[in-house]
């Protein structure tokens, strides 16, 4: 197992390098001069401009700049903005918001998605099953943009007018409660996918030969489904959930915009506008890292859940 982890880490290096290089190149190509952007309307003293350009290696060729960034990254240094603020300082608070949001969404996804999928599979072919399938279709199809505003209007405002103040509709002032509505909106399509995946996976498992064996052993249905089927059906769900963490964090930008959450999406926006290239690259790099690590954890969990998989 240990050797497998090392191999996976080694394999992750080209992905990390490629992704950061790609992002660095895109950000490098962003129009406008970052130093000029820093100054805003004022005209800077040419001498100061030269010093800044030198300090941030802006006069070096692209690949050299990337190299400077990369070596910094491996020391855990995400660099400074042109205004001299460490990028990690800027990112920390924003990532806290996005992680809260994505974690809320992930929990909702796991609980609601797996629950509904389980129920649908056990009611396979009945009215409840069709209703759940129909609901997933709608949930997949309605874009975040739409669910976001609809729920904001219905739950956040109309419900409040009716005297029930459950869901704050903007900002993060109210702690965990602030994340409930945006978390659900962000999770929307994922809930639907997980419901379908759970349903299919469980139905497929229930048709397996070893389930017939479990029935023939005279085990109660509770145990056949709850132990023999579920344990096998869970395996693809774990993969999906793990891979989805990265997707949720990276896809949070629209949800953050709708609910005015000061997360990384918002920050990315601001930083693109301000030409704070190190922040932009830093944010995407962290997201790439999250994606890589989440997938690696999923792979390792796989080995725990399915003994047939052995890593050499």
């Amino acid at each position: 197992m240990g050797r497998y982890i090392i191999r996976r880490l080694v394999q992750a290096i080209p992905v990390l390098l490629g992704a950061t290089l790609l992002i660095y190149a895109i950000v490098f190509a962003l129009p406008g001069d970052p130093v000029a952007a820093l100054a805003g309307e004022k005209r800077l003293d040419p001498h100061i401009v030269d010093v800044l350009r030198e300090q941030y290696h802006l006069n070096d060729p692209f690949l050299v700049q990337y190299w400077h960034y990369l070596t910094g990254l491996f020391r855990g240094d995400f660099g400074d903005t042109f205004a001299g603020v460490p990028v990690t300082d800027i990112m920390a608070g924003k990532f806290q918001v996005t992680i809260n949001l994505a974690a809320t969404a992930l929990v909702m996804e796991a609980v609601i998605g797996a629950g509904l999928g389980l129920y649908a599979a056990l009611r396979h072919g009945k009215a409840q099953d069709s209703m759940i399938l129909g609901a997933t279709l709608v949930l997949i199809s309605v874009p975040t943009l739409v669910t976001g505003f609809m729920l904001q209007l219905l739950l956040g405002v109309k419900l409040k007018q009716a005297g029930i103040d459950l869901f704050p509709v903007a900002g993060v002032a109210e702690g965990l409660r602030s994340y409930l509505l945006p978390g659900f909106v962000l999770a929307g399509a994922s809930i639907a996918y997980l419901t379908r995946l759970t349903r299919t996976s469980l139905m497929e498992t229930l048709r397996a030969d070893y389930i017939r064996t479990a029935v023939a052993k005279g085990l109660p249905r509770r145990r056949v489904v709850g132990r023999h089927a579920l344990r096998n059906a869970l395996i693809p769900l774990i993969t999906f959930l793990g891979a989805d963490l990265g997707t949720l964090m990276g896809g949070a930008v629209i949800t953050e915009a709708i609910f005015n959450l000061p997360g990384i999406g918002q920050q990315l926006f601001t930083s693109v506008y301000l030409r704070e290239q190190p922040v932009v690259v830093g944010i995407v790099t962290v997201l790439v890292l999250v994606y890589i690590l989440a997938n690696m954890v999923v792979d390792l969990l796989y080995a725990v859940l399915d003994p047939r998989i052995r890593y050499e």
């Binding site: 397996a208 064996t213 029935v215 023939a216 005279g218 109660p220 145990r223 096998n232 399915d306 047939r308």
Partner: protein, 345 residues
């Protein structure tokens, strides 16, 4: 024959004149898009303690469906049992409520399946899957169930049981996996063991070992054994009697040495003739011509007539009854005498 009007669980031990297990005029249908498929069409057979009954037939003959009906593991729907009885020591299992049925399933009638790799749960150790029988049905503690699992693995002669009890199914060879299936099935000393093609997926040498193990276990415990197979060669040494199935019906019932000496149904004869034999080396191997019948579109009259070398006009129009042709013998062929004579010659 006595019928129990109020279903009660049959007691362990001897039960008068009733056979241990009697399938009586069993019909099983499957609902499909194209209509009801009659998979089992009036099958009857009986099994006594300590006896081995081989049920022989090609796939689709209804042999496995009959076994699953006995176990009560058919998916209903789509399956349906419109008629028939399955009497276990005189009690009709089909009329038992589900909770009473589950007291029998696995504990008193157990079953092993063809492909042990897919029939064992891949994510649990073999020890836990064997021990589960004791934990669930006997309330044994996990630790004791573990010990029992090792004992059972020893009993089915898995080398190094103590070391291997915590291994997973995929870590065993095909023959060893089938032994684990058997250990699981005999865990609670069932009175009836149904083995559905237990050796089909195995190498020839391993096949013989598994058959030998099954025969031994039956001798040790006086349980009845139903051996389902499509391979006449496998059962010759082990079985006491044979029921040959074709198209959802029994076409011949016989003691094993009778049928080997002289089959009384053209299909059984065809099966016997297609076994390769050393003394016929060099000759062309016999094969039954034609295809197994389509259950959705059964031939008229005798369902075997399109493939039958003895066919006469009556076979196309009239389905033969199961003629009683001896004290322990039946044949569903209008011309069983000719077949029998032909076999002797």
């Amino acid at each position: 024959m006595k019928k129990t009007s109020t279903p009660v669980l049959p007691a362990r031990g001897v039960a008068g004149n009733e056979p241990l297990l009697a399938v009586d005029n069993l019909h099983v249908e499957f609902a499909t898009r194209q209509g009801a498929v009659k998979a089992v069409n009036g099958v009857s057979y009986a099994l006594n303690p300590g006896e081995t009954l081989a049920v022989l037939g090609e796939s689709g003959s209804g042999k496995s469906v009959t076994a699953q009906a006995i176990m009560g593991i058919l998916d209903m729907p789509p399956a349906r049992i419109p008629r028939g009885e399955i009497r276990f020591k005189g009690t009709d299992l089909l009329r038992l409520p589900e909770d009473a049925r589950s007291q029998i399933r696995g504990q008193r009638i157990a079953m092993i399946f063809q492909d042990a790799l897919s029939a064992l749960n891949p994510v649990f150790t073999v020890g836990s899957q064997i021990g589960e029988m004791f934990q669930v049905h006997r309330g044994t503690s996990r630790r004791d169930a573990h010990k029992k699992a090792i004992e059972l693995m020893d009993r089915v002669r898995i080398p190094g049981a103590r070391q291997r009890v915590n291994d997973y199914p995929h870590q065993f060879s095909g023959g060893m996996r089938q032994r684990i299936m058997i250990a699981m099935a005999i865990a609670l000393d069932p009175e009836v063991l149904i083995a559905d093609e237990p050796t089909t997926a195995l190498d020839v040498t391993v096949q013989a070992q598994i058959m030998e193990l099954l025969a031994e276990l039956r001798r040790e415990s006086d349980m009845g054994l139903i051996l389902i197979t499509h391979d006449l060669g496998v059962v010759a040494d082990v079985a006491d009697k044979i029921a040959v199935m074709y198209g959802g019906r029994i076409v011949e019932n016989a003691l094993v040495h009778d049928i080997y000496r002289a089959p009384a149904h053209p299909y059984a004869k065809g099966l016997l003739d297609s076994i390769p034999r050393v003394d016929q080396k060099g000759q062309e191997l016999y094969a039954i011509k034609g295809m197994p019948p389509n259950l959705l579109d059964m031939p008229s009259g005798c369902s075997f007539h399109p493939r039958c070398p003895y066919r006469q006009d009556i076979c196309v129009t009239e389905a033969p009854p199961l003629y009683e042709i001896g004290p322990t013998r039946n044949s569903a062929c209008h011309y069983w005498r000719e077949v029998l004579d032909g076999s002797h010659g």
